[in-house]
């Protein structure tokens, strides 16, 4: 057992931290206020080579393993949660392409990212469905000699901001069960209509309105893999792993900011900096420990990721990480605000923004309830129920 990072990981973290603090963080407030895509920050992520984190090295990417990957996402989130979350989603699409795509597809799409700095979104959620229960009512069908998509998607992150979107579709005509296939569509395709607005508590820069598909045409060779292959691949579970990294990155930034603040501020009538107060020290230490134990669980899940591609195995790993990370991040943002008092409710302090972002992005599926259910069933050896859970969700 070894908890130290290797040289490559240390260098990656260093790069990611520099981008996060020097480029992303100064823009985070504006991205939040305008609820607009963090385009300039994406450009910086690209310039520093991190937009291709999950693209194989042979195609010009970094080909990061899951552990190195979450370390980078965590750092990015320390600068801007919106940028980190969108880059993460993009990076998952890159993994799908790597796993399901043909050499031609890879040669077609990857250069758009590596050379042009484009982003790809991933649209899975549907209205009226419980979060995380996948795609059923968005239908991919054959109309004449081409494929078309019809249906509605919710929470379409980067709508209008990314270059292409990977749409989770259900294939028409096969009765019973789910037959998911991933179809790539360009952002400006005919038949795509943004319907909802995106005016939320936090994560406002992830711009994720509802989108309606009406006979939206899909190129024949823009469909990734065989029907059902995407689900069997065990790729999708890495969404949860990256979310966890975003939570912990943002929460870690809060702890750091809090530490600096209490060391450098004191308030009349207290004679000393807040850092000397036991009622600051104790909750700060609690925050640090929540962060550290959640990180350990996340890193272990990431480390174990590639040892098994079974979707259920990975769902358990992701559930472990996500449960711990979201509990820790919520506790840290809630308590830091409480401890520093009313001043911190003002938007000129970063806590206010990060607090809203964390409260919002920890709502993404799987919910803590679902995470606990997955872990509990696994611990109790209820493999059949886990399987059912998966198929019903």
């Amino acid at each position: 057992m070894d908890f130290l990072l290797n040289k490559k990981q240390r260098e990656l973290i260093q790069t990611a931290k520099e981008v996060a603090r020097e480029c992303l963080e100064p823009r985070a407030y504006e991205v939040d206020q305008k609820a607009d895509h963090p385009r300039a920050s994406w450009a910086d992520v690209w310039t520093h080579g991190l937009l291709g984190m999950t693209i194989p090295e042979e195609y010009g990417g970094l080909g990061l393993d899951p552990l190195s990957y979450v370390l980078v996402v965590e750092q990015l989130a320390g600068g801007c949660t919106n940028t980190a979350m969108t880059v993460h989603m993009h990076s998952v699409v890159m993994r799908y392409i790597d796993s399901l795509g043909t050499p031609e597809q890879k040669a077609n799409f990857y250069p758009e990212i590596v050379e042009q700095g484009k982003l790809f979104g991933s649209w899975g959620s549907e209205p009226s469905r419980r979060g995380g229960t996948g795609s059923v009512q968005t239908i991919l069908s054959r109309e004449g000699d081409q494929y078309v998509i019809n249906g509605d998607k919710h929470f379409c992150t980067m709508a209008g901001g990314a270059h292409r979107y990977m749409v989770h579709c259900n294939v028409q005509g096969l009765d019973g069960g789910r037959n998911i296939v991933m179809a790539l569509v360009p952002h400006n395709n005919i038949g795509i209509t943004v319907k909802g607005e995106w005016d939320t508590l936090g994560m406002r820069g992830t711009v994720s309105p509802s989108v309606s598909f009406s006979d939206c045409k899909v190129e024949d060779d823009w469909i990734l893999g065989e029907v059902g292959q995407a689900e069997r691949s065990g790729i999708g579970q890495i969404f949860g792993l990256g979310y966890s990294a975003v939570y912990l990155g943002a929460a870690g930034r809060v702890v750091e900011w809090f530490s600096d603040y209490v060391q450098s501020h004191h308030f009349i009538p207290d004679p000393e900096p807040m850092a000397k107060n036991v009622l600051i020290q104790k909750p700060l230490a609690e925050m640090i420990m929540a962060l550290e134990s959640a990180r350990k669980v996340l890193y272990k899940s990431a480390w174990m990721w590639e040892s098994n591609s079974d979707p259920i195995y990975r769902a358990v790993l992701a559930a472990r990480a996500k449960y711990m990370a979201s509990e820790a991040a919520i506790m840290i943002t809630t308590n830091s605000l409480q401890l520093l008092g009313g001043r911190m409710a003002q938007k000129r302090y970063p806590l206010e923004r990060i607090y809203r972002d964390i409260r919002t992005c920890t709502l993404m599926p799987p919910s803590p309830d679902r995470c606990l259910e997955i872990i509990g069933k696994m611990e109790l050896g209820l493999d059949d129920e886990l399987l059912m859970l998966r198929h019903s969700s």
């Binding site: 057992m1 070894d2 130290l4 020290q281 134990s293 959640a294 606990l372």
Partner: protein
């Protein structure tokens, strides 16, 4: 980062888990009831080759590092916390001997453990002072062909059962200043008297009465190192790492029992075992995740321990002990609420595990003290008095 365990170590951990399950657990209820020394459980640990986890291989031990020897404690504690806690103390004594002893002392003392299955206690606490403070009341003075020792120690775990006790004493150095020295006192010699009772909520097998030394004659060979040398070795805080491992171990034992019970019991009107209950599944998940977080923070503290400064060590052990203790108390509340009145009966091991967790986690330093250490380290606040208040 690498979460794998070497094959050699995995074998040792498997043995420890087997000893916990087959030797320690079956005796735990009786030990608890009678509040007696865990003699047979220690014998099982010896017979399975685990008594020398912290003794170097050259001397017939397993030569495990801090991380692996701590993991062994975690495994054993799932079977019986009392025998593991006293065994833990014994393993720390071996570290002291290794760090301070002469080759001759090592050969002699380690051989007693490895070949004869003897146990060594560590008696540090004194009435009216906190756990981590230097000994002041038990003093060693020069005498003809040796030394005499006088004073009283509290919380002398294994008193009456261990072969030798490493007594934390103070002695004049060359300049006449009183310094700390560890003395390997044979427990059978004249002048050693056990006093006091041991009747506690839990951890009842860690029988720890008071011991008084009355002009107890000590051989030259019983002193480990030079006066004050021990203060530089940084071994003291490893006690808290082992404590943390024991908390996690007992709690894991409770979770495991809880899981087995849930899988094998069905209550009307449900046709399925308790394990199918959604709220019970949540409980299991919450417990295992808390333990998992605590576990890897402990392991990481073990790994980094020897590289750190003294303050850094306090920080590392505080992190491990805080999380382990919180997780264990959490587990004890969750298992009780999860099974209800059934578990209150003494015929079930959970009843004992709950008492053991509640008692073991009361050992200083308190969670509040741990948090203080963590915060001060992170905030760069110097506190030279820290060690002396550690035990409070």
């Amino acid at each position: 980062m690498d979460f794998s365990i070497k094959q050699e170590h995995q074998g040792i951990l498997d043995t420890a888990a087997k000893v916990a399950r087959e030797d320690l657990l079956p005796r735990a209820a009786d030990i608890d009831l009678k509040s007696v020394h865990t003699t047979e459980s220690w014998a099982a640990i010896w017979e399975n080759g685990l008594l020398g986890t912290t003794i170097p291989k050259d001397y017939g031990g397993l030569g495990l590092g801090l991380l692996e020897s701590t993991m062994v404690l975690e495994k054993l504690a799932a079977g019986c916390a009392s025998s593991t806690a006293s065994f833990h103390m014994h393993t720390v004594v071996q570290r002291y001997i290794d760090a301070l002893g002469t080759v001759q002392q090592k050969e002699e003392l380690f051989s007693e453990v490895v070949n004869e299955g003897k146990l060594f206690g560590s008696w540090g606490s004194e009435p009216g002072t906190h756990g981590g403070a230097a000994p002041v009341k038990v003093v060693v003075n020069r005498a003809k062909e040796g030394y005499v020792m006088n004073g009283t120690k509290h919380f002398c775990t294994m008193a009456g059962a261990c072969h030798r006790a490493m007594v934390h004493t103070n002695i004049p150095d060359k300049d006449g200043n009183r310094r700390t020295i560890m003395v390997m006192v044979p427990t059978w010699v004249e002048g050693v008297a056990i006093t006091g009772e041991w009747n506690t909520l839990g951890m009842r097998g860690t029988v720890s009465p008071s011991v008084t030394f009355d002009n107890c004659f000590i051989d030259e060979n019983a002193l480990l190192g030079e006066p004050g040398e021990v203060e530089e070795k940084g071994i003291e805080q490893t006690f808290a790492l082992g404590d943390a491992a024991i908390y996690i171990g007992i709690a894991q034992g409770a979770v495991d029992w809880f899981k087995e019970y849930a899988k094998s019991h069905t209550f009307d009107p449900s046709p399925q075992p308790l394990s199918h209950d959604l709220l019970l599944q949540r409980r299991v998940a919450e417990m295992t995740q808390r333990l998992e977080g605590a576990r890897y923070v402990l392991y990481s503290s073990c790994q980094r321990y020897w590289e750190e400064s003294n303050m850094g060590r306090w920080y590392l052990v505080s992190k491990a002990k805080y999380l382990a203790s919180e997780a264990a108390v959490f587990v004890s509340n969750m298992v009780a609420a999860g099974l209800g009145g059934r578990i209150a009966h003494r015929r079930y091991p959970l009843e004992r595990m709950i008492r053991d967790i509640r008692t073991a986690t009361l050992m200083p330093p308190s969670p509040d003290r741990c948090l203080e250490v963590i915060a001060k380290y992170e905030l760069g606040i110097d506190d030279v008095q820290l060690a002396s208040r550690w035990g409070s």
